[in-house]
Symmetry: C2
Subunit: 230 residues, 2 copies
DNA sequence: CCATTCTACCGTACTTAGTACGATTCGGCT
DNA sequence: AGCCGAATCGTACTAAGTACGGTAGAATGG
């Protein structure tokens, strides 16, 4: 019965790419918890069971969108000729920004043990830069472990950052709305008051500072002075 | 009808502490996905709805067990008199070990924005050590952000580490069982072959190396030479 | 041009999970 | 003994993952 609108004509046909891309959009819009087979199917204009013809199960979707996030990190000017230090810095910022755009990806990283191609390319590229900068195999292993840890950990800090709104907790005992309990955590309170809660403070700036400190130390440690970078 | 065994006599009475402690055990035993209200209740020897009289909802349970993990980090010799560097190192190792024992906690960190008391004590203590070591407020902020990022990020790397079993993938095109595709990722392959996959290699050693490098750089950066530590 | 077959999509239904709501039980008080 | 509040439980509703089988339209072969 060819009566009424034909929905299949206007639908761009389901593919694995479309499924994963849409899944990423849903996760970005409402958090990873809002990404369900049903919400995804609705967004795709399709019935739930249809997506199972393009992905094995939900785990595969999660693997897929994590790899999409890594793929996003590759979308920045490569500049393979620049100093190794600049290359590393650019990559680190690209990684941080991707994880900031998709904070749910951080929580997924821990449970995923089968890296996708973009994830592997990401690792490969970091190692390549360091090796071509003259680092030994051992030193490259140390440096990449250190750098990856810092970048990834910083993203976690940023995602979990509770400051900014003093939270919605009605402050149990006293009626003060101080962001931190000054008596129980004096140093934390001092830090918050004198540094973090200042008007122009941006936690993101700690990223460049930490990165510079690490890169400076790596440079010293590996090249012992002969090969001045920045 | 007082016939049969009286189950309430032998049960130690439910409390918030018992609920959270048991939730942590369940998560440790079967992963965070296996922690459901029902599995938790079964482990407690109680019906599902009973736990809701001690915690608001599942989110509160997750908040609670994350804080328990942080509390676990406090169970190490304090030695508040030692050199600041040693204190930081001990704390870092305690943190890493706690996150290794409870890898699911890492994935939870990202989504939790209301830190518990143990979490706050943990922050407070790090800041205290640095401040009492003579770091300025600003430098302490930089140092603690850097250190926390590294420790936390390292834990993520460790949890997500795919190496060790070459995975169960039947290697798509070629029949080789090489852990990494040598042609597509030459540097990664070299690194794996010449370093990671060596008999005595332990990724955990990268932790101490990275930590030492960071602490050395912090020391230099902050004290400019006058206050030689280790 | 029709029959077969393959693929993509869908309908139904089963299972598990979170939890609202009200009933019930129990320990301690007067 | 009788009462009260807190702890526990029974029932049931909703949502999510997905197994299983059906169907319709495109591709293929005669």
């Amino acid at each position: 019965m060819p009566v009424g609108s034909d929905p299949t004509a206007t639908r761009p046909r389901l593919t694995r790419e479309r499924v994963l891309g849409c899944a990423l959009d849903v996760a970005d819009a409402g958090g990873i918890a809002s990404l369900t087979i049903r919400s995804l199917a609705a967004e795709l204009g399709v019935k739930p069971m249809s997506v199972y013809h393009h992905v094995a199960n939900k785990e595969a979707i999660l693997d897929g969108i994590v790899d999409l996030v890594f793929a996003e990190m590759e979308l920045f000017p490569r500049d393979a000729d620049g100093a190794w230090r600049d290359q590393i810095v650019r990559r680190a910022h690209a990684t941080r920004h991707a994880l900031r755009r998709h904070p749910w990806a951080i929580g997924l990283l821990e449970s995923r043990s089968t890296p996708g191609p973009a994830t592997l390319r990401h690792q490969e590229e970091t190692i390549r830069i360091l090796r071509e900068a003259g680092f030994s195999v051992e030193m490259t292993a140390h440096a990449s472990a250190l750098l990856d840890s810092f970048v990834c950990g910083f993203a976690v800090q940023e995602a979990a950052r509770p400051f900014g709104v003093t939270s919605t907790r009605p402050s149990d005992e006293r009626g003060d709305s101080s962001p931190v309990d000054t008596e129980a955590y004096p140093h934390l309170a001092e830090m918050a008051e004198k540094h973090m809660l200042r008007p122009g403070y941006d936690f993101g700036e700690e990223f460049q500072l930490g990165l510079d400190l690490i890169l400076g130390a790596l440079n010293r440690s590996a090249h012992a002075g002969h090969l001045a970078p920045s």
